[in-house]
């Protein structure tokens, strides 16, 4: 199965090299593409120096548009699966193959690399947000997603096509909820994650609040009219 890791990168000069080198070493069978989303730092130069495969967006368009660019690339190149992979080193490449195998075996459209299939959530502010999103996904789709905010998700070719052709399809929980309602088969595979190795969490308090508002509004309201 041809699998592509799409790695959105915005100002990731500190962590991108370690992330990609680790991916190449541990999962050499997985292709990758870095989507440099108009970074203002030296992300592009660092990637070119190391001969990495980069899709270079000349201006910053945000995660949704950046990830969609990666999906368009995967669609053109005929990949069977795309895994969304963080540039900051949170995600572990050893779990990608497990996700692909699970997708093939169980004929899944989306596989979420989930922190909480076998492990339990600990109580914290962030996990309260995660539980709330789980709750409203359960409410609107009837399906229990244990780790909706995990950023490590695998999509099959049907899903790649939808990301290519539909605008405003962010690689976020609301899109997953929407796709479940549209009949997509979503499964979860246990995948442990690391704490960030470089940079600050982009989810500061105010950003967390607006992220929650946007996600909840999208799942509860916007998607019914798409």
């Amino acid at each position: 199965m041809k699998t592509l890791a799409v790695i959105p990168a915005y100002n990731e000069e500190e962590s991108i090299v370690d992330t990609v080198e680790e991916l190449k070493a541990i999962a050499p069978q997985i292709d990758y593409i870095i989507v440099n989303d108009g970074s203002k730092d030296n992300t592009l130069a660092v990637c070119q120096e190391h001969g990495f495969n980069v899709l270079n967006l000349p201006v910053n368009v945000g995660l949704t548009g950046g990830f969609q660019a990666g999906m368009k690339y995967a669609w053109e190149k005929g990949y069977d699966y795309v895994v969304q992979f963080d540039a900051d080193g949170q995600h572990r490449p050893e779990f990608i193959q497990k996700m692909v195998d699970a997708a093939v075996e169980q004929d899944a459209d989306i596989v979420i690399g989930s922190r909480f299939v076998t492990e339990k959530k600990q109580a914290s502010a962030r996990m309260t947000g995660s539980a709330l999103i789980s709750g409203i996904i359960k409410l609107t789709t009837g399906k229990r997603i244990k780790d909706p905010t995990s950023g490590m998700r695998l999509y099959n070719r049907d899903m790649i096509k939808r990301f290519v052709y539909e605008p405003d399809f962010g690689p976020e929980p609301d899109t997953v909820a929407y796709l479940i309602r549209q009949g997509a088969r979503v499964i979860e595979v246990q995948a442990d994650m690391r704490d960030r190795t470089a940079g600050e969490s982009y989810l500061s308090f105010s950003k967390s609040i607006s992220y929650m508002m946007r996600t909840c509004t999208s799942i509860l309201f916007v998607q019914w009219f798409r």
């Binding site: 989507v35 899709l55 270079n56 967006l57 000349p58 368009v61 548009g65 969609q68 660019a69 690339y73």
Partner: protein
Amino acid sequence: MNIALRIFLVIGAVIVFAMVIRKIRKSEMQASDSVFWLLFAGAFVVIALIPQIAFVVSDWLGFDSPSNFVFLFVIAILFIKAFTLSADVARLRQKVVALTQEIALREKR
């Protein structure tokens, strides 16, 4: 509708006219965009010159005072403008994203 409000409407209309003309001169506004603002300023002048319009309509709709009707009218028009601008920006954003992606993908082909 006292005389002060009528004078104020005319002054407002003159300022809007002046701003639109300045933007057109500097080619920062296209003819199609100027239509809205010219009509908007024109409506100010009409209401200032013929306040009876505001009296009749506000009476008919049950407003306490015609000036209240004039205020609400202006707010409603501006609200619609803000709403359509928000939709325009969304459409433009989509185009910019598509073009940016296309540039990146072409470079790769």
